[in-house]
């Protein structure tokens, strides 16, 4: 009986471990899935919007105007340096900086309410293009949080 009990006991422990492993695995997949959702907006952009060009691209006046609009509307969440604040993402990341102007324009128009990004469709189109011209003028720069992670979260 005791032998049987121990077999049953070890089988129970194995089941518990398997269940725990399954839960951890599911949580890991969920994290990956959430991360995938976070970056999925680029793929959602229709082809017609993706290929739109910025009428103000490279114009110094538009970049200056965009900087003012950015300070008024975007810096509260994304930081004055556009490197992100808390959970709000950096706009100088590789993902944003390598997105086409049309993709960013689509995202500004639609937002992502589930992730806290409002739609900016109430801003006139020229103003939105100015913000994009300014963002692209900033260039790519990894956020301080990302560089810490790369170094193994050194203080």
């Amino acid at each position: 009986m005791s032998f049987n009990k121990s077999r049953i006991g070890s089988a129970g422990v194995r089941d518990e471990r398997r269940s725990a492993g399954l839960v951890v695995g599911m949580m890991f997949c969920a994290v990956l899935f959430i991360d995938a959702i976070d970056n999925s907006w680029i793929e959602k952009v229709p082809e017609a919007d993706r290929s739109r060009t910025n009428p103000f691209a490279g114009q110094a006046n538009a970049v200056s105007g965009g900087a003012r609009l950015f300070a008024d509307h975007c810096a509260k969440c994304h930081g004055a340096d556009a490197l992100g604040r808390g959970k709000r993402p950096s706009l100088r990341s590789k993902e944003v900086q390598q997105a086409t102007d049309g993709q960013i324009f689509w995202f500004l128009r639609n937002g992502n309410l589930r992730r806290g990004m409002p739609s900016w469709s109430s801003l006139p189109k020229p103003s939105r293009w100015q913000i994009i011209a300014y963002l692209k003028s900033l260039g790519e720069q990894p956020s301080p949080g990302a560089s810490n992670q790369a170094k193994g979260d050194e203080p």
């Binding site: 103000f56 109430s122 189109k125 103003s127």
Partner: protein, 211 residues
């Protein structure tokens, strides 16, 4: 919270409003519907004319503060707000319905149509307070549509209101709007001066260190 002061009468607290809105569609469309809900607990001394419903008329405003305070209304208001943005113009159509929760009261209806546009669509290169993009011209048409017992324009009041708004950068928005009554049930002219300020990202105030 709501209160008012009437010349040669008194200053009174009139009650409170609680409002919320829900955006029905997550993505931007040509028409974006928003559902608006409001609960208000106000006495009749409240003279703010935020919207017109049912058979609201000039006679509702002729009570003294003492007379008005004795009668409190608990009302539920719902709006379907349809807004669109096109070529710098913002357009909005509101269909309003209001129910006084006191027994025996019926549903009342109203409408509001509005259009606005900044004086410039692109931001100036140089920082400036009086730039054209900080000014908005708007026009509004609003009025009552009767109630369940008598839907329509009969015995209702209507207003047309041109508006000029000035969005002071990093400061409040100030707007001036004279509303002109369009029929005998309406007040002749109402001058509305509004100062509003939007507190953004309140959660940032409680962060220990915000970069």
């Amino acid at each position: 919270m709501s209160g008012q002061h009437t010349s040669n009468d008194s200053t009174v607290f009139t009650g409170f409003r609680w409002e919320n809105r829900f955006r029905a569609l997550l993505h931007d469309h040509f028409i974006n519907p928003v559902l608006y809900f409001e609960y208000e607990n106000l006495n009749h001394a409240d003279r703010s004319l935020l919207e017109v419903v049912g058979h609201d008329s000039i006679s509702d405003l002729r009570l003294s503060n003492a007379q008005g305070r004795s009668d409190t209304e608990r009302e539920l208001e719902m709006k379907l707000i349809l807004s669109s943005n096109a070529k710098g113009w913002k357009m909005s159509e509101n269909f309003i319905t209001e129910k006084n929760l006191n027994a025996g009261e019926t549903w009342e209806f109203g409408y509001a149509l509005g259009v606005s546009r900044p004086l410039a669509l692109a931001a100036s290169a140089k920082a400036c307070v009086f730039c054209r993009e900080n000014f908005f011209a708007a026009a509004e048409l609003y009025g009552g549509l009767g109630d369940l017992d008598g839907f329509g324009l009969k015995a209702t009041s209507h207003y047309a209101a041109p508006t000029l708004a000035f969005n002071i950068p990093h400061r409040p928005t100030v707007s001036f709007s004279p509303s002109f009554g369009l029929n005998a049930n309406s007040v002749g002219v109402i001058y509305r001066i509004k100062v509003s300020y939007e507190f953004q990202q309140i959660s940032n105030w409680f962060r220990r260190s915000a970069r």
